[in-house]
């Protein structure tokens, strides 16, 4: 195990963590610059591949860090990198949520909760839009999306069942 590499992994990802305003994907260019160009942990092609793989895996989108850490320094690198990517940002969220809890009855919190609701719904719609663009959907996928939306909105069927069925349809090559 290479301690120097582990330290580099920790320092790189903990600094990216605090810079990633707006979500993990905003620091991808900087991550690429350092991991590929600076440290030569992986090649250009490998970076693109691990990005695609980490997006397809379940869970939070920052798990590309796990794969880069793995390539740089094995399993310890993977775990340390993932931890470093979450710790500084997590501490900031902790501080903010404490302030938020203390402001429970303030007019500012009431106004933010009420005012942010329509904005958040708009942002969620934007992410649905961007997701379907990124997945390069054709008309069959849109049809499947429409059918699933109708099921989610009108029935109480467990969504996991619907997503799995849609996965099966994809596996059979129907979309």
């Amino acid at each position: 195990m290479n301690v120097k590499t582990l330290i580099q992994v920790f320092l790189l990802f903990s600094s990216l963590s605090i810079l990633s305003i707006g979500g993990g994907n905003t620091v991808l260019p900087e991550m690429h610059r350092k991991a590929v160009g600076g440290y030569h942990w992986l090649t250009d092609k490998q970076f693109a591949d691990v990005f695609a793989i980490s997006q397809a895996a379940p869970g939070p989108s920052i798990l590309i860090v796990t794969m880069i850490g793995y390539k740089a320094a094995g399993i310890p690198g993977a775990i340390l990198g993932t931890f470093a990517m979450m710790l500084p940002a997590g501490m900031l969220v902790y501080l903010v949520s404490r302030i938020w809890e203390r402001a429970k009855h303030s007019p500012a919190r009431k106004a933010i909760e009420k005012g942010f609701a329509p904005l958040t719904v708009g942002l969620i719609l934007a992410s649905a839009w961007i997701m379907s663009k990124a997945a390069d959907h054709d008309w069959r996928a849109y049809l499947l999306t429409a059918a699933c939306t109708a099921i989610f909105c009108t029935t109480k069927i467990n969504p996991l069942f619907v997503v799995s069925a849609a996965g099966l349809i994809g596996w059979l090559g129907w979309v």
């Binding site: 798990l63 940002a89 949520s97 909760e113 619907v162």
Partner: protein
């Protein structure tokens, strides 16, 4: 909600959210489980937490796990929620990394993911309908909703630019009116 969830429940719940999201749509899964199924939060509180977690640095869903964990059980709660959210995905990604760097290819799951992604988009859209029905009830919130979708979704402005324009308007609109004496 009768009582606070235990650390174990927090970990289990976020694990459920993470594993269910294999086609994407983590935000929608979070609402489905935290608001609709477990009733730990109301929609309004949940939605504002989602946007705050987006503004703060870090992965949105990790931030949301920290936020919900702290709300119920302080720092141990945050650790339990993040652990639950990331354990299984990290193991999966590690296995995929091993395959990729060893054999230079990944097991063929592209078809499954394509179908699941279509359903994940659907779940996200249904979240828009379910939450929109409650908060898009007058002209101003509908305009705010349309404006941010246009800016962030269609024109692809960065989140902070959209919010620095629209958040002050939203807060001014929502500020509690003082009762006239």
């Amino acid at each position: 909600m009768s009582e606070k969830p235990s650390l174990f429940e927090l970990a289990l719940t976020f694990n459920q959210i993470a594993v269910a999201s294999f086609g994407g749509g983590l935000s929608a899964w979070s609402r489905e489980v935290i608001v609709a199924e477990r009733k730990w939060m109301e929609d309004e509180e949940f939605l504002s937490a989602v946007t705050m977690c987006r503004i703060l640095p870090g992965a949105n869903q990790v931030n949301l796990a920290v936020f919900v964990g702290v709300k119920f059980r302080g720092i141990p709660g945050a650790l339990a929620a993040v652990f639950g959210l990331t354990l299984v995905p990290v193991l999966i990604v590690l296995a995929l990394s091993y395959f990729y760097f060893q054999y230079h290819e990944v097991p063929a799951v592209a078809g499954i993911l394509k179908g699941a992604a279509a359903a994940a988009v659907a779940l996200t859209l249904s979240m828009v309908f379910k939450t929109g029905r409650k908060c898009l009830v007058s002209l101003v919130p509908v305009l705010l909703f349309l404006a941010i979708f246009l800016m962030n979704g269609l024109v692809r402005w960065p989140l902070l630019a959209c919010l620095s324009l629209l958040a002050p308007l939203a807060i001014a609109w929502a500020w509690p009116k003082e009762k006239t004496p």
